[in-house]
């Protein structure tokens, strides 16, 4: 594709919430503020394996705010799902080691006991998963599965909970919710199942909704519906949304903030529209360049050479350096030896890269 200067982004696209919060370390200070629901600091998640410990997530720091959607983007194995499952304490403590801090609505999740986690799950933070067919229990009626989550956090009768489930199904746009509530998941279509999954996620009105690849298993026309639904529900409930995806198009459609992950680490953070329009990390840049477009013709796609690294055996220095085209712009062999910090590169932007003037370098890269 050609190296056209990217036009500036209209700033009116996103409704901005202007509640201020105290500036903190590593916080993108230019970002509009909402109440911080989730604050993750220096999170590391490791799994033992036959070949050695798998470093699924390393030194991850971010926060999610009410009324805003944060997209976590990365390829498979980048640690995006692993980090979000840790938020609900869903990793088996016997088969994983988690360090750092996850503050969910003021409660520390890392090392929390089962009772604490149980109170927060679904009530404070809920999760919806990629494949709604396998995420809903095949043996129980959809309505009952939703009611169960409501019953767990509200001392109401079963009938009340069932009514609530039907209301939720109606809210997410399932026609004939009374009848649908009494059906099993396999009687639903793919889009309907994901709607039911969202109803289940929102039944306790959580402050944080984590959507893990919610539309990957769906067709584009249905995906658009579901994304619209998530957007409108967020507007209605004002909750924080974390959207985990590998699809940059989905990010552009719905998210306010973005966090790009590569091989278990955050490599770039900032406002979604800024990052996507003017990426500063070579990986983000290359990823955007390699996407074929439905709106313009292209002769040759830019590629990222090689394959994502093994999480057991990460490359020395910057994990991306073996695939990076800009590494020779960094003097010496810093890229291969020194792991760069996630640093503020420009207002509201953080990158994990040794490049002193990334935007300039990448603009030249694109042109060459």
């Amino acid at each position: 594709m050609s190296a056209q200067p990217v036009p500036p982004v209209p700033s009116s696209a996103v409704p901005q919430n202007a509640v201020a919060a105290a500036p903190e370390r590593n916080v993108v200070d230019q970002a509009p503020k909402g109440e911080v629901v989730l604050k993750i600091t220096d999170l590391c998640v490791r799994f033992p394996s036959d070949e050695g410990p798998v470093n699924a997530v390393q030194d991850l720091t971010y926060e999610a705010r009410l009324g805003r959607t944060l997209a976590i983007v990365g390829e498979s194995g980048s640690g995006k799902s692993v980090s979000s499952m840790a938020v609900l304490g869903l990793h088996n403590p016997k088969r994983s080691s988690i360090t750092g801090s996850i503050l969910l609505d003021g409660t520390e999740i890392v090392g929390a006991d089962e009772a604490t986690l149980r109170k927060l799950r679904s009530n404070t933070a809920a999760m919806i998963f990629q494949d709604p067919l396998s995420a809903l229990h095949p043996f129980y009626k959809v309505g009952n599965q939703i009611a169960e989550a409501y019953l767990a956090h509200n001392s109401v009768s079963k009938d009340v909970a069932r009514k609530r489930a039907v209301e939720m199904l109606e809210l997410v746009g399932i026609p004939n919710p009374q009848r649908r509530a009494k059906q099993f998941p396999h009687e639903f279509s793919g889009g309907m199942r994901q709607r039911a999954m969202i109803a289940l996620g929102l039944v306790n009105n959580p402050k944080l909704l984590i959507a893990d690849e919610p539309t990957t298993a769906l067709d584009v026309t249905v995906q658009a519906q579901i994304l619209d639904l998530v957007k409108s529900l967020q507007r209605e409930f004002g909750s924080a949304v974390i959207l985990i995806t590998h699809d940059l198009g989905v990010v552009a459609e719905v998210s306010d903030d973005i966090l790009v992950m590569y091989a278990g680490r955050a490599v770039e953070r900032g406002l979604a529209k800024d990052v996507l329009a003017r990426p500063q990390h070579p990986y983000t840049h290359a990823l955007l360049q390699s996407l074929p477009s439905a709106s313009e013709d292209s002769d040759q796609l830019q590629t990222i050479k090689g394959t994502p690294p093994s999480l057991v055996n990460l490359p020395s220095g910057c994990s991306f350096h073996p695939r990076c085209t800009a590494r020779d712009r960094v003097p010496g062999d810093a890229c291969a030896t020194v792991l760069p910090d996630l640093r503020v590169s420009s207002p509201g932007r953080q990158i994990r890269c040794h490049l002193a003037n990334p935007e300039q370098v990448l603009a030249q890269e694109g042109a060459s």
């Binding site: 869903l90 986690l117 998963f129 396998s134 995420a135 809903l136 043996f139």
Partner: protein, 328 residues
């Protein structure tokens, strides 16, 4: 749902029919001469042999014999026993060559013994097997888990008649810790007590298999997405494991139960022999030594019908467990 049950029932009937024809052909049309075997060691005269053949009807074409046998099963028939016709009501399985007792009656008196033994061992292997398997799955990787799996592997690998024999010889004969088999007519309590030892051996042997099925199924289920969903609802771990996990983990175990029914009957047969339980298995072995064909055939038929019925029950139970089967 009804279609499903109907199809299984048709399958069951077809199996019984096939077995009926096959056993009939094997036993009655085979070269083994029932008359000869009735005469046994004491050689009969040729005239006497002929008489017996005529009274049994084995001198007539196979098709007619089969028709009569089948007729006997459905509506009853007359059979010549020592020269005089005797009516045998449906379902007629004939009369014992040796004792002249009606096969049906002979089996009916022994059937409760076998059924009770099978039932008791089933209760043992299902309860012990599944609960131990679930326990191992929940403690996956722990010493307890390894111990359970290792023990079930070793114990389940040694043939049940070996452990059974050693158990019987040592604990009911040599050091009588457990009561030996007693007839039902001598009192129900003693009867049941006498079945405890064989039921434990048979039950534990089968339990080893169910420990491993249940464990594998439970481990698999606990890794499913829907269990993760259940956990993310904030319900108690007990509910997650038993309501969401176990419910789904049980259905593959139930399928295996269906496949095991035929094996369980074999198991009771040999256990009866070892512990001296007067059931249909032991009766069959005894009749085999006497070449008492009507009894052998009756036993095979009854055994087969039992297995088929149990299979059918298991299939129906399975369809109730899994709504996907029920509705698709």
């Amino acid at each position: 749902m009804l279609i499903y049950i109907a199809r299984r029932a048709i399958m069951a009937v077809s199996v019984i029919l096939v077995v009926l024809v096959a056993t009939f052909l094997l036993f009655f049309a085979g070269p083994a001469d029932p008359a000869q075997s009735m005469c046994g060691e004491t050689r009969c005269t040729t005239q006497r042999l002929e008489d017996i053949r005529r009274s049994l009807g084995t001198d007539r074409p196979v098709a007619i014999q089969f028709k009569e046998y089948f007729q006997g099963l459905l509506v009853g028939r007359d059979i010549y026993v020592s020269g005089s016709p005797k009516h045998c009501e449906a379902p007629c399985l004939g009369f014992s060559f040796r004792t002249g007792v009606e096969v049906k009656d002979a089996l009916a008196t022994r059937f409760p013994n076998t059924a009770m033994l099978a039932l008791m061992s089933m209760v043992i292997f299902l309860s012990v097997g599944v609960s131990t398997g679930v326990l191992a799955a929940r403690r996956r990787g722990s010493g307890l888990d390894r111990g359970i799996v290792g023990f079930s592997q070793v114990f389940g690998s040694i043939p049940s008649y070996i452990t059974g024999l050693l158990f019987a010889l040592n604990f009911t004969v040599l050091y009588p810790l457990l009561p030996r088999y007693a007839n039902r007519s001598d009192g129900i309590a003693g009867w049941i007590a006498g079945l405890v030892a064989p039921a434990i051996i048979l039950g534990l042997f089968y339990a080893t298999g169910y420990v491993r099925y249940a464990r594998a199924s439970m481990v698999d289920t606990l890794n499913q997405d829907y269990v993760r969903t259940a956990r993310s609802k904030g319900i108690s771990e007990q509910t997650v494991v038993y309501k969401h996990g176990l419910r789904a983990a049980l259905s593959p175990v139930v399928t295996i139960l269906g496949l095991d029914m035929a094996g369980l009957l074999s198991g009771t047969l040999i256990t009866e022999q070892i512990f001296g339980v007067d059931g249909i298995g032991r009766f069959a072995i005894e009749s085999l030594r006497n070449d008492d064909l009507p009894i052998i055939m009756g036993t095979v038929l009854i055994g087969c019908v039992l297995v088929v019925i149990m299979n059918l029950i298991v299939d129906i139970a399975y369809s109730f467990l899994d709504p996907r089967v029920r509705l698709s």
